[in-house]
Symmetry: C2
């Protein structure tokens, strides 16, 4: 990847003097900032933009290690062959006309990748805007040179964007809004070869990058991406386009990418410690916040809110509750200091409305904001400060330098929300940003970014690497026998045998061939029992009238047995099962996601599953700690903890079940899907009451 | 209220030449824009700002009908007496030092109101920033005159703000951001007399106001406010500060206001057709969107998205799904027109990524955006258009005038999201705004505002007025007898008798005094039965071990009876109840909200009530249509409709129950609270299985 970011010489294939063409823009952008050799290639010109032009790559006398291609798609292949001949290690193909145009383009793209692999050339693109390095002044892109005149604000956030125009739009927007500094911006287009994983790996160890933001419409190799996020020592922010089914459809026709079920994506990102963004500018705000603020100190305190307006403080407190940020209980010493600034009639409370204190001290030279800020930053009960301020034509002054220094010193973030004149607020925001203090024009955004900064992230590499999965094929002879069935669902009894073989508890039951056997087994199991008809290939037994509950004695059993047999109409078997009375009904399961492989699900189950959709996913294998965190992501936590006298979930045992489900998915590739629903919580512990294993 | 908005002459009591004081700012602001007589009042000066100054109100020879007071709180009362003598009808008291400072200030404020009422003077404030009328150039406020130099952008949105500094901050912010035009801005402070209801009523019929936005921390008379919203022919947007419990605490100490449970507020606002805002600038964006866009035509189509970038289109579709906006299925004719613009390899789909069409037609003079826009606006399957555009140093042009004209003509909103240079995007946004086309810098905000504009609102006055409640005291002798109990909860059996008296169905049951009576009643009711111990004052019976389920025969009944009696330890009665098997468990109820009076609740009940909090409130009385809309606000709708073979809810019958609960609350003031939980949905219809009526 080094040759893309630090080339010594660059050939521009498709360079042209026509200022309306991208091949001209690339050259102009290179001349502006690139210090190495620049070699335009085009057989029709001797010189372009004052630089000698070569008829072909072969003719270039100097050594070049990077080629930027802006030629019609069909010519890309021969150009790459020439690159190989010239010893070039990397090519940025900015031309379109590949996979995004349909099957023919896709075939061309595949030939291009095969050719490049053979020649040992890394290909970036095609159908992309290339890359920008704001620190070095590199613009390896056909972006309009006129749009770049203002220059970038160099900084420490690097972006990877899977949408060409969007990346250009972002950059122009950022350039002129000037509140987020850019290190590298990478537009990866069709990511035929170089993809988000290559870039994430590179940027993770890039000394010029502090935070990495990615806009992605698909994950090339989801598991590798997660692994890189988990081990990345820097905050990673991801905006995933195509969350909705409709969006996903658009994604498929756009960059020819496959979008997954967003519940899986959200779970996987959370598991890997990624901050998930939802909107474009919000993503930039999250990135600049994470880059500017000191890393979270892991304090268990809350936020102090200093506000010029009681109303703004009230709404900020509302947002903090929404986002799980505590309003700090200020220490008595802090209260005392603050009270000294306030008129006696105004009792100090957090959020602190500083206006009465300002009015009282007007003209005294007392710096109310500064004094209050110092007091709350020194308070051990305070993890961060939200400052809601007026700027512009107001008589309020604030010493930003002092504020920034004190925030750094205390290791606690100070975030600003600004109301005021457009230019005044902008100028203030820029000054604050330059000092490492994030400032915002929307109150919710300020609170949201502060929450992201203070959120605890798993320490990189603190979790077991994803490779520590059980070896495939590690199954008992009994299970091996079950796995010889054809594709489709195993029946409930077979499915539970597979679960039990991995230590997942299931309800006591017996498959019975006759009414008499059924009676014998019922006595062994103990009444009340449940009777189920197992019809091959049928999963929804209740809807088919094949489940009889509350069977209390032999008479009822006989009657039920006959009824179920009749419904089965000669097919399948009967299952007699202990009826257990339980509390919460959970769902647990495993699915094989096309992007992330085997994933584990936990949630509220039973009839509520589809109604409430209170479920959470994580990628297997899970450590016990990860499984516990996964359980903690169910919204209805109260139902797990023995709500209203119901038995509480043994979380450690449940975590073991989830780990086992993930391991099953990893070690037995023939299992496509596992559904344990309900997984019942009772006084006797957990038990799979119904389950289905689906084979590929 | 007329004298506040159209005074002929104004006295400024507390005027001063000291430019650091508010009394000077008020005068300067008046001189700048007010055309009538201005009379400064201050015994220490003969002239201020070149205007003759009077020692007292009595001395003013001219007729003045409005006084603006900026004098220390204790002097306000005598000043108001002088106002009365002078025949002044309205006073804006901008001074602080009243209820917001504690009990003494509160007493002073009460004396002030009493005095004003007696004298027939309306008082605006105290502790407020007064009012601004941007169309007339009126600034009746101590806002810093320097901050106002730029002047307001006159428009058709009027604001009411219960937070002084915030209203000033807003105005300065709006003035310089210039994308929302202001008609009137009213800072109502402690709203001792003039409150949000007075202003809402005035603005509802103000010809210069098209949309009304309110920031409130409390409702003075909640029911009146809702009534005004329901009958207001204009969109009303409300941001309620103090949603969280912590926020509510701050609200109490701030403007001495009482904040209610936000679930009730949200329900009441939705019922009255109010658009609820959550953040300050978002509220402005909602207001300007509602003011600019044509009223919703009630179409059942979707949104067409035209985007310069596939990525932006994908994320817009994600947001539309989040917000319940459909992505339009474009008609075949529209698809055909669009396809003519596109390269053949690019099949047209909504969201429409117009970039390939632009590339294809570059230099041909074909207006791609314009052609596409005309096509989608003419499509009957399209209710609105979202245009995602680049502005600034790009080679894309857009005919905004044409766009605005076509949007108006079609009666369909066109909303813009802009990415680009700071100044370019701002200039474009201002031009678009002036033409009535809302433009945004955040994509989510654009989609959110479009959704608010297209949301169906109940036609004003279409619902029965809130007065149509049953007359208080309309109760049967049996119920009257029950209501003679002291404060606290009635027991389950008593509570259900009250419910049955209003036609609310309850499970069959009998209160029994002996084991033999219990057996007789069980036979009459039919097994299985439930046994409950009714302990006086105890509401949570299950937790106290006083509920026995699944009693199948006389033997079990005897055993259970003795066990329950033992638990009761000589207190209370035993209730034997039919055990009914049901589907969904609901909760229905009535509470008496301090701001809105009797309110009705519906939600998912049983053990899920507190875990899921899937409930919705509305203010009583309810029409049947309102009750049906209320039921429609439960998130878990699927549970109501006979999910997985369970019986479906008879929504009409449930609506009747809700109407009856509301009427009970209105007609029987002694009832403080009603809790029906669970209200069971079974094959036989609805039945209250447990219920508690709490008396005041």
């Amino acid at each position: 990847m080094h040759c893309f970011f630090n080339p010594r010489g660059i050939a521009v294939v498709g360079a042209t003097p026509n200022p309306a063409k991208g091949g001209n823009a690339i050259l102009k952008n290179l001349v502006t900032g690139f210090q190495g050799t620049i070699c335009p290639v085009n057989p029709r010109y001797r010189e372009i933009e004052g630089i000698p032009c070569f008829p072909s790559l072969r003719e270039i006398p100097d050594s070049v290690d990077l080629a930027i291609l802006f030629v019609p798609a069909p010519q890309v292949l021969t150009t790459l062959e020439e690159c190989a001949g010239k010893g070039i290690r990397g090519a940025i193909v900015e031309s379109g006309g590949f996979a995004e145009t349909g099957p023919e383009g896709r075939a061309l793209q595949e030939r291009m990748v095969a050719l490049a692999r053979e020649a040992g050339i890394r290909v970036w693109g095609p159908n992309c805007m290339g890359l920008v390095d704001a620190l070095r002044g590199h613009v390896f892109s056909f972006m309009d040179p006129a749009a770049l005149r203002r220059g970038f604000v160099p900084g420490d956030v690097s972006l990877v964007v899977q949408s060409g125009l969007l990346s250009a739009g972002f950059l122009v927007d950022l350039m002129t809004h000037g509140v987020m500094g850019i290190s590298k911006a990478c537009s990866i287009g069709n990511k035929a070869d170089v993809d988000e994983n290559d870039l994430l790996e590179y940027l993770a160890s890039d000394p010029d990058t502090r935070v990495i933001g990615l806009y992605l419409e698909s994950f090339r190799e989801g598991r590798r991406f997660l692994e890189l996020c988990r081990t990345c020592p820097k905050p990673v922010v991801v905006l995933k386009g195509g969350r909705s089914s409709r969006g996903a459809r658009a994604a498929m026709s756009h960059t020819a990418s496959l979008a997954g079920n967003h519940a899986v994506v959200a779970g996987a990102l959370a598991q890997a410690g990624v901050t998930e963004a939802h909107d474009f500018k919000q993503m930039m705000d999250l990135c600049r916040s994470l880059a500017a603020a000191p890393p979270p100190a892991g304090g268990k305190g809350g936020i102090a809110v200093l506000s010029f307006s009681g109303g703004a403080g009230i709404v900020a407190a509302d947002f903090m509750e929404d986002l799980g940020l505590a309003v700090a209980d200020l220490s008595p010493g802090t209260i005392e200091t603050l009270q000294g600034l306030f008129p006696p009639w105004m009792p100090v409370a957090n959020p602190v409305d500083v206006w009465p204190a300002m009015e009282r001290n007007m003209g005294t030279g007392i710096d109310v904001y500064g004094t209050a800020l110092r007091a709350v930053l020194a308070d051990p009960a305070v993890d961060g400060v939200l400052l809601l301020a007026f700027v512009g034509n107001f008589r309020i002054s604030m010493d930003l330098e002092d504020l920034a220094a004190r925030s750094r010193e205390a290791g606690k973030p100070v975030f600003l929300w600004l109301l005021g004149t457009r230019d005044g607020a902008f100028e203030f925001q820029q000054r604050a940003h330059a000092l490492g203090v994030p400032a915002f024009q929307e109150l919710y955004r300020a609170v949201e970014c502060l929450a992201a900064v203070l959120r605890e992230r798993p320490a990189p590499g603190a979790v077991a690497p994803k490779g520590a999965a059980p070896a495939p094929g590690d199954v008992s002879p009994e299970v091996a026998d079950l796995l010889r069935a054809g594709p489709g669902p195993l029946d409930e009894e077979q499915s539970k045998r597979i679960l039990r073989s991995r230590g997942i508890p299931a309800v006591e039951e017996a498959r019975v061939a006759s009414e008499e056997e059924c009676l014998r087994e019922a006595i062994r199991i103990g009444y009340p029992v449940v009777l189920k008809g197992l019809k091959p290939g049928l999963v929804h037994k209740s809807e088919a009238g094949l489940v009889r509950l509350n069977i209390a004695d032999a008479g009822q059993l006989r009657e039920s047995y006959r009824a179920v047999r009749e419904r089965l109409a000669g097919e399948g078997d009967v299952l007699v099962q202990k009826q257990i009375r339980g509390g919460a009904e959970l769902i647990a399961g495993m699915i094989r996601d096309p992007q992330f492989g085997p994933c584990v699900l936990i949630g509220l189950g039973g009839t509520l599953t589809e109604v409430l959709r209170d479920t959470a996913f994580a990628v297997a294998p899970l450590s016990e700690a990860e499984a516990l965190r996964l359980i903690g992501r169910i919204r209805g936590q109260a139902l797990l903890d023995g709500f209203r006298g119901a038995p509480a979930v043994d979380r450690k045992r449940l975590a073991e079940v989830l780990v086992a489900l993930g391991d099953l998915g990893l070690s037995v590739p023939r299992i496509r899907e596992i559904d344990v629903n309900p997984l019942l919580v009772s006084e006797d512990g957990l038990a799979a009451v119904d389950a289905t294993v689906v084979l590929e």
